[in-house]
């Protein structure tokens, strides 16, 4: 008995480092970060991280995690291997969502209360610019070709197209009410956006900056006002996109060529943010109310496992 107790965690630790990818989930209420082995489907550990952690991202070289600790008014830099804090970024007040540029040297933060986007040079740990946007900016992303920075303002119902070189707004697109998440296709040709209040997904052509398709969702047994899309991810080949439907507790599978809704998968309560595994064979979801993470096998399109992680799981990032 005694021996086993010592050996099992050791073995587990060995397998983790040897094979599997690691999933990190911010826990808004626990002020902590959950570390999950998604292959074993197990919570490895929980680490204290700071007050009210929400947005999370990993650097392109997978060495650092960035975590917005909203109530500390900072974005923390965490070493991805030791999970120790190695720095702090001056994010402005109440950072929630943020985006990294493809090179991983610039970070863009939505400051909801001040209607600002803060541009941070990561190496210098310095604010370069604050860009005034519409009321309550939320969703934020950078195009893979590093041409556009997109900020979505929830109350203004607009996408702001910010030139990533000059950090100035070039155009604005009126979209469905309360835009939440924004995500580019890998070829930077399309921007996908979710509207929480209209319950829709909009696909926007980057050239014209106008919507080319609006997708609605129907889920049997769920009333329309429960369908509140939040997170959206699109696979590299642009075959399928996955959309978290919030309190509808489902992830929608959309054919990214025809824009048809192919499937809806039942996950945990108030599904919020999504992330692919590095090989895009699995999808990880954070479920804000049921305090767990769902693992979806994308080949069979089935939810294979639910992993309890802690209170109010919010953001998710994956380290190969």
């Amino acid at each position: 008995m005694f021996k086993n107790n010592i050996i099992t965690p050791l073995l587990l630790a060995l397998t983790v480092t040897a094979h599997a990818e690691t999933v990190f989930v911010t826990l808004e209420k626990d002020n902590a970060l959950a570390v999950v082995d998604p292959i074993a489907g197990k919570l490895i550990k929980t680490v204290s991280i700071g007050q009210r952690p929400r947005g999370i991202a990993i650097s392109p070289d997978n060495k650092f995690l960035y975590v917005a600790t909203s109530d500390d008014n900072t974005i923390k830099i965490i070493a991805a291997d030791t999970l120790k804090e190695v720095g702090k970024l001056p994010s402005g007040e109440d950072p929630e969502t943020f985006a990294l540029n493809p090179a991983g040297d610039m970070l863009y933060v939505s400051n909801e209360d001040d209607s600002l986007v803060t541009v941070i040079d990561i190496a210098k740990q310095k604010v370069i610019k604050q860009i005034k946007v519409g009321v309550e900016p939320e969703g934020i992303t950078v195009s893979p070709d590093n041409r556009w920075l997109i900020s979505a303002s929830e109350t203004t119902n607009m996408l702001h197209w910010i030139d990533a070189k000059t950090n100035a707004i070039v155009e604005n697109t009126l979209v469905d009410p309360r835009p939440r998440a924004v995500s580019f296709t890998a070829d930077s040709q399309q921007l996908w956006m979710t509207s929480e209040m209209a319950g829709t997904l909009m696909v926007i052509d980057v050239k014209t900056k106008q919507p080319i398709k609006t997708v609605s969702f129907n889920v049997t047994g769920v009333t329309a006002d429960k369908i509140q899309p939040v997170g959206v991810v699109i696979d590299k080949e642009r075959q399928r996109a996955y959309i978290a439907l919030g309190p509808a507790n489902r992830v929608a599978v959309v054919n990214a060529q025809t824009y048809e809704v192919e499937n809806v998968l039942l996950v945990g309560s108030r599904v919020w943010n999504l992330a692919f595994s590095p090989d895009e064979k699995r999808l990880y979801t954070t479920n804000g109310v049921s305090n767990d993470m769902s693992i979806v096998d994308l080949e069979s399109q089935t939810v294979t496992k639910s992993v309890g992680v802690g209170s109010y799981p919010w953001g998710v990032a994956v380290k190969p």
Binding site: D114, V135, S153, T156, M158, I169, D176, M197, G199
Partner: protein, 396 residues
């Protein structure tokens, strides 16, 4: 208040103006003008002087919404303008309406009591406008006295009572003692509570009227205990005292330890300072920064009214009554109200469908519709008069 904040605000506004200049240089702006109509009221006597009397309830909400509308409007080439008409205590609302508002505005946000509101709505000039009622909770206005040119923003008494009843049902507080004040509004609230009791099959153990006397032998401490002693036991005391004349006396003073719910204790409201979910904390902060106080229910209602006009005008790219009204009552209309679900108007009586907050003074207890109360179309319609129950006919 804070000079730095003000400075930032100014910069934002300057920036937006510059921005629009570049995007819509050739276009002239389309103006959407909104009248804000209210009358000063004498402060009513209340039991507790803890809360300061707020004279501008509503107005600051409308002003915040105008600036929110204009942020989007600047990008779409629309300018939203709020004109305020605050009629003095001894003035005539009708005169002000006829002289300054009739034939000049398509949209009026009203913070008038029911009777004055109807008086305005029935004028010929009012037939060419939409009145946004940001003050009344009367069920009659949403039923037999309904008017086709009024949209009601605040939840009706029936919606509030249903919200409370759903919560009590969930807690299995099925036996109620109803205590009613002497004001006519208290009677209306009591009617709504009785309707809900029937609707959710709750049992009304007794209904008692609270009389005000100046008898020196009656003190809250002794009186409430005696007053709340019944032959039959009850689970909860439901109070109907809208003005706040005695309701605060009841909690902790009942003969048996029983929770107080209704207009005091646990209340049902459209907005509350304890509400933080679904982005509410952002608007609470923005409002407080601008107003220097918490957002009241009427501020929230006026905010939503102006935002609804903004949303419809921006989506239809119009300032004209017909397309804007059609959009407002269409299924496409979805207003963000910081309460989780999109808000929209009930086509059968012009009531804004919305979640109702159940709040204690320092904690948000629940948000109705309570989970488990189902509806074929939207669970929001489990609150108040649903389509088959409503008896509003658009005769006027």
């Amino acid at each position: 208040m804070c000079p730095i904040k003000l400075y930032i605000q100014l910069i934002i506004q300057f920036f937006i103006i510059v921005q629009v200049g570049s995007v819509n240089a050739a276009k002239t702006k389309q103006a959407v003008t909104i009248a804000y109509l209210t009358q000063e009221r004498a402060a009513l006597p209340v039991l507790s002087n803890l809360d300061p009397v707020i004279k501008d309830k509503g107005l600051l909400g409308a002003e915040l919404a105008i600036s929110d509308n204009n942020t989007t409007g600047q990008f779409t080439g629309q300018q939203f303008v709020l004109k305020k008409f605050i009629v003095p205590l001894d003035g005539s609302v009708l005169d002000v309406f006829n002289k300054a508002i009739a034939d000049k505005f398509n949209y009026v946000v009203s913070l008038l009591p029911a009777e004055q509101m109807l008086g305005i709505a029935d004028l010929p000039a009012a037939q060419k406008m939409i009145l946004f009622d940001a003050a009344t909770t009367d069920d009659a206005l949403r039923n037999e006295q309904c008017r086709a040119n009024i949209l009601h923003i605040l939840p009706s008494r029936a919606m509030r009572a249903d919200a409370l009843a759903q919560y009590m049902m969930k807690k299995r507080w099925t036996k109620w003692l109803l205590v009613v004040g002497t004001q006519p509004e208290d009677q209306l609230f009591a009617e709504a509570v009785k309707r809900s009791a029937k609707r959710f099959n709750m049992s009304l153990v007794a209904e008692k009227r609270w009389e005000h006397t100046y008898d020196a032998r009656r003190t809250a401490q002794s009186d409430v205990a005696v007053f709340s002693q019944l032959d039959d036991d009850y689970d909860v005391l439901v109070v109907a005292d809208e003005q706040g004349e005695f309701g605060e006396y009841l909690d902790y003073r009942t003969w048996l330890p029983r929770p107080v719910i209704g207009t005091q204790g646990l209340i049902a409201t459209a907005w509350h300072r304890t509400h933080e979910q679904w982005g509410a904390v952002q608007i609470q902060n923005r409002f407080k920064e601008q107003a220097g106080r918490w957002m009241e229910e009427q501020d929230y209602a006026a905010y939503l009214a102006v935002r609804a006009i903004g949303e419809a005008a921006i989506r239809t790219q119009s300032n004209e009554l017909k397309p804007v009204k059609a959009y407002l009552i269409s299924e496409k209309f979805a207003l963000q109200g910081y309460k989780g679900a999109p808000l929209s108007f009930r086509a059968w009586n012009g009531q804004l469908r919305q979640p109702v907050l159940l709040a204690a003074p320092r904690s948000l207890v629940a948000v109705a519709p309570i989970e488990g109360f189902l509806h074929p179309k939207t669970e929001l319609d489990t609150l108040g008069y649903d389509q088959p129950e409503a008896h509003c006919q658009w005769s006027k």
